[in-house]
Symmetry: C2
Subunit: 373 residues, 2 copies
């Protein structure tokens, strides 16, 4: 018998059964009072996760749609600095290039951001900065607060991809001075993929460019949100799922949720260390390991297929490989959303068992068990 599936990737995440059930409903009209109540709940419940009192738009589309809506809607800038130390930072640069001049600050994927280069770029006349808070392609947490502080010295707009941090790690938009931030439904929120929320502070509107794509025009979303509606037909089942996911977050409590993510991440790192595996990111004094995904170097002599293929085949567990030029060089374990100790231990034990067969690690699962106590 083939085992049923367990997703341990950096999104889409495994769904809690309450969220699956929330979706399995007869359709309701998207202009009905019933939908408006769902929508209003979502907007209000998501703001604390961003750490904002500003507006929130919810787009029916993936996280990339949210990233582009953020860039395009606020592209009235001569130049934008895009920080790239991973695939999603690179994506910001690709998107931004369609709207304005870009200073593309490249770092090796897995390296930390050099804040001096960020400051230099802003001093040279960039009017905005876009960066990824939690870079899932490499498992690094970029220093959002420090980047924002530098940007503010130059009155620059700050756009943050919080797609895989919001709801799973500390995000304090208003305190940090982040003007625009994005989250995806399928990451730390624990809902299925297909929605992106964009939080917007008042200051961002000074940078509003009305030549934004129609579908990604945040002004239209924010305006309609005052009536608890969306400008275009929303993906109704995904809103129902998101509302249930946010209810679960409220019940758990945001602090507890962040603490859980940290504990799971810590256990994963302790396990890797004990097993003799090497974490992929290279930290500096400002960066940290991600608390929502752990990226680990593939041990010598083990192929992606041997590890991830066997894991899926024998255990029904899916973890991620490396993207682009990191294919085969790293593997990534997602521990975000409504993931629990049981799922994580199963994953780490199964990975260890496969790598032990190849003689590529030392026994280490007890280190994770201890860290999870």
């Amino acid at each position: 018998m083939k085992p049923d599936g367990l997703l341990m990737i950096p999104g889409p995440v495994k769904l809690h059964e309450r969220i699956i059930n929330a979706m399995a409903k007869q359709m309701i009209g998207h202009r009905s009072k019933d939908f408006e109540e769902v929508f209003e709940y979502c907007i209000n419940a998501i703001k604390p996760l961003f750490g904002t009192h500003g507006d929130v738009a919810i787009i029916s589309g993936s996280g990339t749609a949210g990233m582009e809506a953020a860039i395009a809607s606020f592209s009235k800038v001569r130049r934008i600095t895009c920080i790239d130390n991973g695939k999603f930072g690179e994506r910001f640069a690709k998107i931004a290039r369609r709207y304005t001049e870009v200073d593309h600050l490249r770092f090796e994927w897995g390296e930390s951001v050099d804040l001096e280069r960020v400051e230099q770029s802003l001093a040279n006349g960039s009017e905005a900065v876009a960066f990824v808070h939690n870079e899932t392609s490499t498992g690094i947490l970029n220093p959002a607060e420090e980047i924002s502080r530098i940007a503010k010295k130059y009155d620059a707009l700050v756009i943050m991809d919080g797609i895989t941090s919001v709801g799973g790690d500390e995000v304090r938009m208003d305190d940090w001075g982040v003007d625009v931030a994005v989250v995806g439904s399928q990451k730390c929120l624990g809902a299925p993929p297909g929605l992106a929320a964009v939080a917007v502070n008042d200051r961002a509107w000074d940078f509003y460019n009305e030549n934004v794509p129609f579908y990604l025009d945040l002004k239209a979303y924010v305006k309609k949100a005052k009536d608890n509606q969306t400008p275009y037909t929303p993906a109704v089942p995904l809103f129902l799922a998101l509302a249930e996911a946010l209810r679960i977050i409220e019940e758990e409590g945001l602090e507890n949720r962040i603490a859980r993510h940290r504990k799971l991440a810590n256990a994963t790192r302790k396990w890797a260390e004990e097993a003799g595996l090497e974490l992929f990111p290279k930290l500096n004094e400002h960066s940290r390991y991600s608390n929502t995904v752990t990226a680990i170097r593939m041990p010598e002599g083990v192929s992606d297929k041997e590890l991830r293929g066997t894991l899926r085949e024998e255990y029904g567990i899916t973890i991620s490989g490396g993207q682009e030029h990191l294919k085969g060089k790293i593997f990534r374990i997602g521990h975000m959303g409504n993931v629990n100790k049981r799922d994580l231990l199963a994953t780490l034990a199964a990975v260890e068992e496969i790598l032990l067969r190849k003689g590529a690690v030392k026994p280490a699962i007890h280190a994770a068990m201890e860290a999870l106590r």
Copy 2:
């Protein structure tokens, strides 16, 4: 006891329980073989509904995202003619204005398109034409074949909003010479809202504009579709639902499905006629009544709230009102997707019962029953 809900609007439509159940699944990886199979099935099963052998892109987003992807991706034109005889035609013009010069051909909402004006606009140098096939805001079916024929005389690109015709009425893109067409998941396909499919013929690529928004760049979707993948994380549950919806269409057979839509539409119109109600659209020799939605003038002395409010309150049935300046002046009954005789008769009888109380109609339900035989 409040009755449970029945949606009889021009989308989102009531879901068949098989489609609800298809969504209620644990999440699968979007880069997994399992997802690729779902995706491949969707692409192949949807092509015959467009009447095309061309490429199909599926975007996680509403129909509007599909409309904009179609316009923006193929906006390398000096001028585009946008035909507007209803809300969605107007939307095409609004979208197109963000990409190129627009000749906005306005007709009164509810009026038929004057093909001579279309020809004139093309003769004056438009290189593309965008129009809505089935205009749900007014219940009219615009003459797609004739518009395409005129456009071809001028080698103009033809972009068609088939959002509420594909899967419910005859659409023959390749035969008619439509180069790009759009459908929404929540209309005649019978799936939940949140996906838009765009069919693209080879010729359209001559008009490709690489300055298209990143998320709406059809080249990226078509390229990834060769590997049965999407460029950005897809709304997985909605793809599962769409696949099941397309399976239901295959089982019914496209011809039978179109015949069913026509029969339901015919019954609705016969009922309205017999009741002494006035259909809203003004036909000419080229236009027809929509087979997927019927728009009817609100009888004198009846308010939107009296009709639609009472219908929802007492019967749990939701129908649509008029949009924009048509608010309160018309009501619209959707009969698209997996709707059946039972749902339609219940709706017509309930509407009739409410209007009879107001002395606003004659008894007419038997006309519908007869037409449905």
